[in-house]
């Protein structure tokens, strides 16, 4: 397998007139990782994927996949990857097997015993016409076509749409097996719980900009804590406003709850001033809360901008 970065985007921008769908995006994936690409609808996830796959051309910047230039070597790139577009649409008049045969013929070198194994694991019916399948069953055919050539890099845009929980976990198991073999997965999603389950590293995109890029562990550790403080008597919060990193503070007579991502020492000092602190409980905020915080910032940006 190639030693080059599975995906490398440099200063990648895509503008549609005044709409900046991607803005100076820099991103490098590491071999063998599962990378979660998170963002709300319309943030630029699909634009990013379509740009690096040469479906659309960047306004600025460049990208490469497995060391091949997205633009010049796009055919070579596609020898080594598996791709599932968002909202998977397949040919309604073909059966699942016809669909896979077609794609296998266009690619060459597909191991049909592996296809059979995938179909069995995902419980996919390949004999029915795609147009007569439910959306989840259609998605399974989409997944198989992405997996079937054992790609070095998998690019999946909202892959678990329509899959039932059992199939989702089977799908995640396959992803993890592939990563364990040294293959790389680029998983675009707006469902955090999915990324949280499988990803090693997370990038968050909004308004076409990459606003965060961290390992899942890092993100959790540095991230926000939820803090409950119990006072002996009514709380005096006068000094708290000055502490950097406090958000969403709520005071209810002798109790205060707050989200905090600043320096703990500053907080403790301020709390102690003029208060008799009885108890402090802190816990790690879960990823959902972190994610929402990023988006809430987003909303603030927008209010400020307007």
């Amino acid at each position: 397998m190639s030693n080059a970065a599975p995906i490398k985007a440099e200063n990648l921008s895509k503008h549609y007139g005044d709409v900046k769908a991607l803005q100076r995006l820099d991103l490098t994936l590491e071999t063998g990782e599962i990378f979660g690409f998170l963002g709300p609808n319309g943030a630029g996830k699909t634009t990013m994927i379509r740009t690096i796959l040469d479906e659309i051309r960047p306004t600025e910047g460049r990208s490469s996949i497995l060391g091949f230039d997205s633009r010049a070597d796009s055919v070579e790139i596609r020898r080594h990857i598996g791709y599932l577009p968002s909202g998977t649409v397949l040919y309604p008049n073909l059966t699942g097997r016809d669909t896979l045969t077609y794609f296998a013929n266009l690619r060459g070198g597909v191991d049909w015993s592996y296809v059979g194994e995938l179909a069995e694991r995902l419980n996919a019916d390949l004999t029915k016409k795609i147009g007569n399948l439910s959306s989840g069953n259609r998605q399974k055919v989409g997944l198989i076509q992405a997996f079937m050539n054992r790609p070095e890099l998998l690019i999946m845009d909202e892959p678990s749409a329509g899959l039932d929980p059992l199939m989702q976990s089977e799908f995640h198991a396959i992803l993890q097996e592939l990563a364990a073999e040294g293959r790389t997965v680029f998983l675009s999603s707006h469902t955090l719980s999915e990324v949280q389950l499988v990803a090693d590293r997370v990038g968050i995109i909004r308004h076409g900009r990459l606003v965060a890029l961290e390992s899942l562990a890092e993100m959790r550790s540095k991230a926000m804590r939820k803090i409950d403080v119990q006072f002996d008597g009514p709380a005096r919060e006068s000094g708290l406003a000055g502490v950097a990193g406090i958000r969403d503070i709520k005071v209810d007579r002798d109790r205060a709850t707050l989200s905090f991502d600043g320096r703990m020492a500053d907080l403790l000092k301020t709390l102690a001033e003029g208060n008799n602190v009885l108890d402090i409980r802190t816990r790690e905020a879960d990823l959902d809360e972190i994610f929402l915080t990023y988006y809430r910032d987003d909303e603030t940006d927008r209010t400020e901008a307007s």
């Binding site: 596609r78 577009p85 794609f103 007569n132």
Partner: protein, 548 residues
Amino acid sequence: MLASVFTKSISDRWTSMTVATVSIGLLLTGAAAVYKGIDLSIYQDMPEALKNLYGFSSEGGVSQLAYGAIYSFMAALAYAGVAVSIGTSSIAGEERDGTMGILLGNPRSRGYVLAHKTAGLICLVVLGGLVLLGAGLLAPGIVGISTAGTHIDALMLHMFANALVFGLLALAVGGWTGNPSLSSGIAAGLMVVSYLAVSLLPMVSGLADLAKIFPWYYYNGSDPLRNGVDGAHLAVQLGLSALFIGVAAVGFQRRDLRERTVGTSLLDRLRDNPLTHRAMEKLAGTARVSGVVTKTASEQQGMLAVISLAIVLLGILIGLMFNGLQADLATISEDLPEGVMALVGNVDMGTPEGWLTGELYSLVVPIALIALAATMGSRALGSEEKTGTMGLLLARPISRSRIVLGKSAAMLINVGIAVVLTSIGVALGSWLGDLGVGTTEILATSLMAGLLASVFGALALALGAATGRVPLAAFGSAGAAFVAYLANSMLPLSDNLSDFAKLSPFCYYLTGDPLVNGIDWSHALILGGLTAGLIALSLVLFNRRDLR
């Protein structure tokens, strides 16, 4: 327009009905203008068979001829055809698209939906009828011809009832079965069969009364244009309509609704049948998906089959008709004014070659082949972009150029198949009718038609490659073909502009009279070169563009 199922049904389809009927109205005005300038005596001498097929009545003035030519035949078929398509989409079409479930998710009964859909269908047919009636009343005035002795209102009333019969038949079959292919197939099939039967059966002695079992008979069997409304015939038409509404109501209430489905082709059925499974598995399955070329070629199998079959049958029929008509045809050619001669291809219909050229090669064959090529060319790239499969296709290690070339090859292959079948049909007709036209020349002329069609197919491909939009590519290439046809027919009539006709691809199609002289290689080269050039242009355009 979305206040109820009724208003939505109307807003969904009023454009197709309006476009169809307004076009027919324009055609009628054009036809009236043309007939005004012709010596009409030739029509009196036409053989009964031709008059019946084209709806001419034996005596009468210019207006009757124009109404007869456009309304009795073309308008009635197109008008009823639109009604069939609306009838099909009313119930069965919504089930196929998967929207019936959502519609019935609202607190409305099936009876309510059917009543509104039926009312929508009837209103649209009324709308179309009013447009046609308006055009029928206005056209003679515009052109300045008399309408004495004609009852256009009576003709329109019967034509309206006729469209209603076939539209409601489609609604009834769709309501009973929920199968849109069956619904449009039965209604449109019966429409064409009954039109042909009513036109041709009266010529066969002893079978004239058989025409009465076909609904079309009650439209023009009484010749309402001359004789006014026939109450009994109208009652039959309205009675049939009411019967079909009843069938639709009963059928729709009693059955399970269908889920969203895709159509099943003949190949699919053979593939599912255990007897034919092995052979068909290869043809309908593995062979079909072996690559971009075969898959694309197979997608238009229905259209290819219908077009080819129609040309083959027409080729045989036209060949057989020649001997009976030869004497009359010779006089027609002599009497036709220059302008009309130009429109039918400047041929002497009195010779076998002229007859085949005039009846088949000047218009019917190129229209059919251009329709096939332009459909494939316009859908080649845009339809995969529109449905969203282009991304998946391009996830394979194949270049955009290979996709363009594969799709072009598929188009050329299908046009090639149609060319071969056309040649077979015309050659059969020539042999059966003892016309003595050489097979090589027939093949050469069909090939030239195929090359001509490929030019417009490649133009559609280039438009699709540049924009990714199917309708733009389809209408653009069809419009170009229409303009090119008119340019080649009309410009030579003017001394100053005749050279510009050489810009039209049609100029290189029949000019050398290939049915007599065989293939003109320089013309073939020009058409082939244009096609190749447009395909090369498509490569450039498709490679440069952001996919949709």
